[in-house]
């Protein structure tokens, strides 16, 4: 790895997590799409930050805007349709407004991404090795031979047995778990400072999922790579992350340290998600479900977006809500958070 560092003149990693400047800071991000029926706002106003080496979870149902947010961070939303406003500051540099060329140098090098379905994220007509080599050479411009060595090294690092042989295999020759390892190898080959993992283990068996989650934690700790873990699986998230953002209908509803939010969530939606998991009930008991669905972006209520599904809703919830920051740094978007005592995933 030394030669790559020399060629790009990479300086050492940022000293410590918890320094004043976060690795990534999203300020008042708004994401809209141009559609046939006018501009549709999907994410109205989102702010959060990720520290160096931090593992942050983003959870929520389908339609909560978590995947869109992940794609926006890495500049993968279609330029002719998506309208981004606000700031995405990566080490102080705003990613919104960068040209495609600037983004190409940045994407993969500073922020890597792993997608849910490795079979559709990998190119079926190139070998795993070719796909890693392509990424490495794009960012570091080293010789093909050195890049290939690096590819073998990466496959070995992500736990693919017989890496030197597997490097010449095509994606269809690998199992689901191995493909996801290969995806991780591609994403981490350029030593990004941050990895966005969008539902990386949803398509995998629970035993393989456990292996991949453990691998992600280990690699993140070894290389101090921050992880933004997008998932609807609260269990998987708890295994990997130290902090959790809950999103609902495009808005942030809660941002808290994992331990605190699992014990005592402050937002009724977070509590509902945690309680609807089957593991807390006995056979025959009704699962406490949330009921209803995420409202479509065309018919968003002007007040609290969760109001229609919330059992704690009162008249005042129809007024617009603000994200408030509590003294301990937690953030929540519910004006009743102080009076409600909501159950978490542990009693």
């Amino acid at each position: 790895m030394q030669d790559i560092d020399n060629q790009t003149g990479e300086i050492g990693r940022h000293p410590m997590q918890g320094t004043v400047v976060p690795l990534l800071e999203v300020r008042n991000l708004s994401i809209s799409f141009r559609t046939a029926n006018g501009v549709l706002n999907i994410v109205p106003d989102l702010s959060f930050s990720v520290g160096y080496g931090e593992r942050l979870a983003v959870v929520g149902e389908s339609g909560s805007g978590k995947t869109i947010t992940g794609l926006a961070l890495i500049g993968l939303l279609p330029r002719n349709q998506a309208v981004l406003n606000g700031q995405i500051l990566f080490e102080g540099r705003n990613l919104i407004g960068l040209s495609e060329q600037e983004l190409r140098a940045f994407r993969g090098r500073q922020i890597g991404m792993v997608f849910q379905e490795p079979m559709s994220a990998l190119d079926p007509v190139f070998t795993i090795g070719q796909q890693i080599v392509e990424t490495i050479r794009h960012h570091f411009g080293i010789s093909a031979r050195a890049a290939r060595e690096r590819a073998v090294e990466m496959l070995d690092k992500v736990g693919i047995p017989a890496a030197r042989k597997r490097v010449d295999e095509y994606p269809h020759q690998l199992s689901g778990g191995m493909r996801q390892r290969a995806m991780l190898a591609i994403a981490l080959a350029c030593e990004p400072r941050m990895l966005i993992a969008d539902e990386p283990t949803t398509a995998l068996d629970v035993t393989i999922q456990a292996q991949i989650l453990e691998l992600m934690v280990r690699l993140s700790e070894e290389t101090r790579t921050a992880i933004l873990f997008i998932s609807h699986d609260l269990g998987a998230v708890s295994e990997v992350c130290s902090r959790m953002l809950t999103m609902y209908a495009g808005q942030l509803v809660e941002d808290a340290v994992l331990d605190a939010v699992l014990r005592r969530p402050l937002h009724p939606y977070t509590s509902g998600l945690l309680r609807s998991l089957p593991r807390f009930s006995r056979k025959g008991d009704r699962l406490p479900s949330i009921g209803g669905r995420v409202p479509p972006p065309t018919a968003m209520p002007s007040g609290c977006r969760f109001e229609q599904r919330c059992v704690h809703a009162i008249d005042a919830c129809r007024n617009p809500q603000m994200v408030v920051t509590l003294p301990d740094g937690r953030r929540v978007c519910c004006h009743r958070h102080a009076e409600l005592h909501l159950p978490g995933s542990v009693d």
Partner: protein
């Protein structure tokens, strides 16, 4: 005296031809399992364990190569084609992918009515009335009957699939990963619905899933499969609280739990490697290549299917002798 089983498989095996090869793969290998009326049996295992094939055998969608399937003591494959056609109505299935299992060109109401159309005993108006009644029962608005599958959400589509399975008033429904594609909150709604319907219509379920939480929530009995064979079978509570097979223990331990890091007490057992190819299963115990407690004996001698307590069966040489992961 126990209630006689409603559905029983005895020593069933399924062999599939491998394309371009003379080799055959044994997807299910000598499985015996009985399902009593109004009971829910969960089948868990990794991909490639044969759990879906076993589910399909139970509803006559897959004919076993050897072994026997009986529905209330009757072997469905001995019935005449006309009798079998009528017989099948009592054994329905709900599939995993709500998109793939509905005809995109049919309004969902028509999809639900189709089994009744084929049955052909009721006049059209009664069939329509039955469809609307069922839709309301599964929590779908009647207006949705004229919508096409792409206009519905995943949860709604899965409700349509459940309604369609119910049209012929079946005795048994096999749910093959029926809630796997749904969000947790929607999944909870659908699971609640399935439990209600079971009580109301006296249904018997076979729940095929890789999600232990889901299986444990709905099942009375759980069967654990690995590479086509049963590893452990027992009452849900016994299996969840005192699993005897190392594979069951590993599955339970691998299930990620939303527990604060400060409250974790047990070290997780993370299985190494992946499920071996069923074309060339390991000798002796099939799980031995990934088993944390495997010994020499496991490679040479296949563990017997032995009883360990009431209705609790295990196939492991070390069942009951393992303490904290080591024999």
């Amino acid at each position: 005296m126990q209630v006689p089983p409603l559905l029983e498989v005895k020593d069933v095996s399924v062999l599939f031809r491998v394309q371009g090869s003379r080799q055959r793969v044994r997807a299910v290998d000598g499985v015996s399992l009985a399902v009593r009326p109004r009971e829910t049996v969960g089948i868990i295992g990794e991909s490639g364990s044969g759990k879906s094939t076993l589910g399909r055998i139970m509803v006559c969608l897959q004919k076993p190569t050897t072994g026997q399937l009986t529905h209330e003591g009757v072997d469905p494959y001995r019935l005449s084609p006309a009798q079998l056609c009528r017989h099948r109505r009592d054994y329905q299935m709900v599939f995993q992918d709500p998109n793939a299992s509905l005809n995109p060109r049919l309004p969902v109401g028509a999809s639900i009515r189709e089994p009744l159309d084929i049955e052909g005993t009721l006049p059209r108006s009664e069939r329509d009335a039955r469809v609307l009644e069922l839709m309301e029962r599964v929590g779908l608005h009647r207006e949705l009957a004229y919508r096409y599958p792409h206009e519905l959400s995943g949860g709604q589509k899965q409700r349509v699939n459940i309604a369609r399975a119910l049209t012929c008033r079946p005795k048994v429904i096999v749910c093959d990963e029926a809630v796997a594609a749904l969000d947790v909150s929607i999944q909870a709604d659908v699971l609640n619905l399935l439990v209600e319907l079971q009580q109301e219509f006296g249904l018997t379920y076979v729940f095929v899933s890789h999600d232990l939480g889901v299986v444990a929530h709905v099942s009375d009995t759980i069967a654990v499969m690995y590479l086509g064979k049963l590893m452990e079978l027992g009452p849900s509570e016994v299996l969840m609280n005192g699993p005897l097979h190392p594979y069951t223990r590993a599955l339970l331990s691998a299930e990620p739990a939303p527990v604060p890091p400060s409250m974790r007490t047990q070290k997780r057992i993370i299985l190494q490697g992946e499920i071996p190819s069923p074309l060339n299963p390991p000798s002796g115990c099939r799980f031995r290549t990934r088993c944390p407690v495997a010994a020499n004996r496991c490679a040479t001698e296949e563990p017997a299917w032995k009883q360990h307590g009431e209705n609790h069966w295990v196939a492991c040489h070390f069942a009951g002798k393992i303490q904290g992961g080591t024999p």
